[in-house]
Symmetry: C2
Subunit: 526 residues, 2 copies
């Protein structure tokens, strides 16, 4: 499949700049053709202007029209066939089976949002009928619903080249809400990005949607992303990646004349708490399954369990031994890029040199390319209290066990925790009863709490919360996975005393769309 | 009724500082006893620590328990009787009838949130049942609902000494969500604030809620408010007031190590567009009713109509004449404070001296105290395009008419508008058909659109949106009036594979609370 190395300013392929870069094969450490043209400020501006023009029309498309479009994107992605998987494998080093699975998830996500907007009640339609006879003042007719925010900028992640990239959850939810989208392609998989973008452009043509509904710009320099977040016509930002990157975008967005929301999912250390009974009963299986979760995808998941708390005991010693053994036997894998490997190595180095932290074990360094070698470290609550960097994410297949003195000490540790995407608790029935107060206290610290499971593997569904308090994200009130993600890209608009013909269908008398609506406070489909 | 001049750090009355201030009677320009002790940094810190301790318990109170508390606050406010109205009248210069009405609205608001949390489905409960047999991976049990954010800081407004002050919409919605609250009292009506705070403290005692569920600190200096917004245990800010004040809090909140959401409602100019047919048909009634809306409450409403657009025509000339006459006949009223009057006068002065703006008429300056005199100015779209200060709110009974050339020019004006709380359109049936595209384009610019009405008078109901794009607010995705305001103070928390006894009642099997829940994607009370 031919890759141009150009930018999509709407459906037009452009490459005005001489600043070029290549993708790299992380398994071979070699460059991959062709060269990609970094978007100029002018090209970014054109894409956003087009997105703004397209918004007037696209934002008023009906649910079924948007659904058809999202399904067309899914179809066009599948139509790219093996060529897409092949290119992505070269750019990311991820195995084919994983990429096939992730493509499936991406396509399913698009179809999930298609179902959501076809069904239509996500708009939270609310109607209060007028009461002209009310005393002392007549009650007006008041109706409201969610409306798309405007053109938005989406920054793809390197670790999910399909599911959190060009046509990933952020783009799908923004398009579903009725926003037009300008994507900043991730420079670690630019060819994959171009192929997926071409699929979206085909879907736009197939569905006869306005040019500018979607654009994608390439770039390695921060200036490309900054041009997006600083542009006055951009009304929100979606981002998945590092704390440094997400926080920089957040600060830029708040420094604008008109500040805009930034939904940055910046990862976390995802603490796992193993309670005494569970440690006693099933330390072998926990050690094995935890190692599998730590090393899954070479540890390159936002939900990778990077902190493990156990109470000081003999059982704890045996558990650490078991965990050390399973980590020692775990294989290395190719990381997504040389940059990520460097950063992982720096993280390991820093931990090794930290007072109160010792290396327990490391896995086998076998294979070719930018390998990520599994590591497990050990520390104590005393060190955890004095050095807050122990809570920071080390992106890769590494975890840090922390020994706490007792339940009181554990409560103190939890009190000190910052925000995380997930917190996991392993316990027997008795543990869970005895530690109910501990589990309650976790609510303040994470978006998702898991009992007797592992944080990796984020179910894409209505009830998922993939988010959490800062610094896991910049907006704890939202999720970037699951149907609720759509609300990030909309705001309520209220229509007072509107004649029927000027109301959106969702708010018309007689409920022509047959959606759930809150009528004078009561949910009904009437 | 005895007023101490002290701060409520929880239920404890304290006054550690020697920095004192008095309330002022704006009708007389005289000080009112007693002196109020500005809260020290230490007192603010104590109040927030208490709020944090209380949160653990209060945030887990059931809907009915919180409802009973909110209703008890309403009862205790009413039990303050005439003394509250009398003190408030002295501090604000607002007439008794208005204050009785506003107290009614405040009490109704508390009861509205009581009904909302007693009914319970505001938490957006979502359940996806496990499917252990799913291929390739089993589906986990995933449930989520809204949970309170934590202790929050609320800044009352001067212009609604009951409805947007100590026990106003922000406090009511935060307490309803399960947050504990620290209020910064408004220094323009500190005695009113203390009385209302004492009612809340009484309700806390009556309902046996933890000390620290509510605190209130007094202060004239910005340092008191800054101590609240900068405190690491505070998780959100509610504010109603000026752009300068709201934006300063927003910037402070984003500069924190852990940024927090700020819901600042900062007012706006609330454009009114009078279409040609309406101008022809009913210019007399529009001039009369518009004047009433401009001068209502001495123009001291966030929704005061400060901009009026009409198309250039003979009718426009006649309308201006009518409007000038009604404004000339309109009475002055006592403004809320000397400071507000000064700022109103500066706003008038600035408009008078602006190129392209001329004074059309002013009202009668009759009465005693800090009078606000009605004013109407005239300008053109040409000036509006070149001077963006014409769009700024002048807080007081003043409005600026802007003559636009034609429909195209009007569309251009709308394109240039910033965010407003409301935009109003007056039109005949034919106007509304001919200008449907104009009306559509307004959605991007305001939280509430009104046809053939006036923006003053904000209906407190399920469908209201009192918000809008920046700079009307710092978060266009929310409202500060109506039941949806509760969502500002909550975030979703997800429970994966939780045993029943650890789940909140809202998410338990069998739906013990009988609330609406999204079960595997379907709304049901089963």
């Amino acid at each position: 499949m031919y890759i141009t190395g150009l930018n999509f300013t709407g459906k037009t392929l452009t490459g005005k700049s001489n600043t070029i870069f290549e993708a790299e094969n992380p398994a071979l450490g070699s460059k991959i053709a062709p060269s990609f043209h970094e978007a100029t400020q002018e090209e970014v501006g054109e894409a956003i202007q087009k997105a703004n023009m397209a918004f007037k029309d696209y934002s008023r498309k009906s649910g079924p029209e948007k659904a058809t479009f999202l399904e067309a994107i899914a179809d066009e992605i599948m139509a790219l066939g093996k060529a897409l998987i092949q290119r992505c494998k070269e750019e990311t080093g991820l195995p084919e089976a994983r990429l096939n699975g992730e493509r499936g998830r991406t396509v399913d996500q698009l179809c999930m949002f298609a179902r959501l907007v076809r069904e239509g009640c996500w708009v939270d339609a609310r109607i209060e009928k007028a009461d002209p006879s009310r005393d002392p003042a007549p009650k007006p007719d008041v109706r409201s619903m969610q409306r798309a925010l405007g053109p938005v900028g989406i920054f793809g992640a390197s670790n999910f080249p399909f599911a959190f990239s060009v046509a990933g959850g952020d783009t799908a939810s923004a398009l579903a809400a009725g926003c037009t989208v300008v994507v900043k392609a991730h420079p670690a998989h630019p060819g994959t990005c171009e192929l997926v973008a071409s699929a979206i452009i085909k879907a736009i043509e197939k569905c006869n949607l306005p040019d500018g509904t979607f654009s994608m710009v390439q770039g390695q320099s921060t200036s490309v992303g900054l041009a997006i977040v600083r542009h006055p016509l951009i009304k929100a930002i979606g981002f998945t990646g590092s704390f440094r990157g997400g926080k920089a975008l957040f600060d830029e967005a708040n420094a604008r004349t008109e500040p805009i929301p930034v939904y940055a999912e910046m990862g976390s250390a995802n603490p796992v708490i193993i309670l005494p009974g569970a440690l006693k009963e099933r330390k072998e299986s926990i050690a094995k399954d935890l190692t599998a979760s730590v090393t899954l995808g070479v540890g390159q998941f936002c939900t990778n369990p990077g902190l493990v708390f156990t109470e000081r005991s003999e059982e704890e010693g045996s558990f650490r031994e078991l965990l050390s053994n399973t980590i020692k036997e775990a294989s290395s894998g190719v990381m997504l890029s040389g940059g990520l490997q460097q950063s992982y190595k720096r993280g390991l180095e820093k931990l090794s040199q930290t007072n109160g932290v010792t290396l327990l074990a490391e896995g086998k360094e076998e294979g070719q390319g930018y390998l990520g070698v599994p590591h497990v470290f050990q520390s104590t609550s005393e060190s955890f209290f004095t050095d807050e960097t122990l809570e920071e994410e080390v992106f890769g297949p590494s975890t840090l066990t922390v020994s706490v003195k007792d339940k009181q000490d554990l409560l103190k540790v939890i009190g000190k925790l910052k925000g995380h995407l997930t917190i996991t608790v392993h316990g027997t029935d008795e543990d869970l009863k005895n530690y109910a107060d501990v589990i309650r206290s976790l609510e303040q610290k994470a978006g998702r709490l898991i009992i007797n499971g592992y944080p990796t593997g984020v179910e894409v569904c209505h009830a998922m919360v993939h988010g959490g308090p800062f610094p896991a994200t910049t907006d704890s009130r939202t999720t970037s996975v699951g149907t609720t993600a759509i609300t990030r890209f909309a705001r309520p608009v209220c229509y007072q005393n509107f004649p029927g013909h000027l109301l959106p269908d969702e708010l018309k008398d007689g409920n022509p769309l047959k959606i759930w609506r809150l009528m004078d406070g009561n949910l009904t489909k009437e």
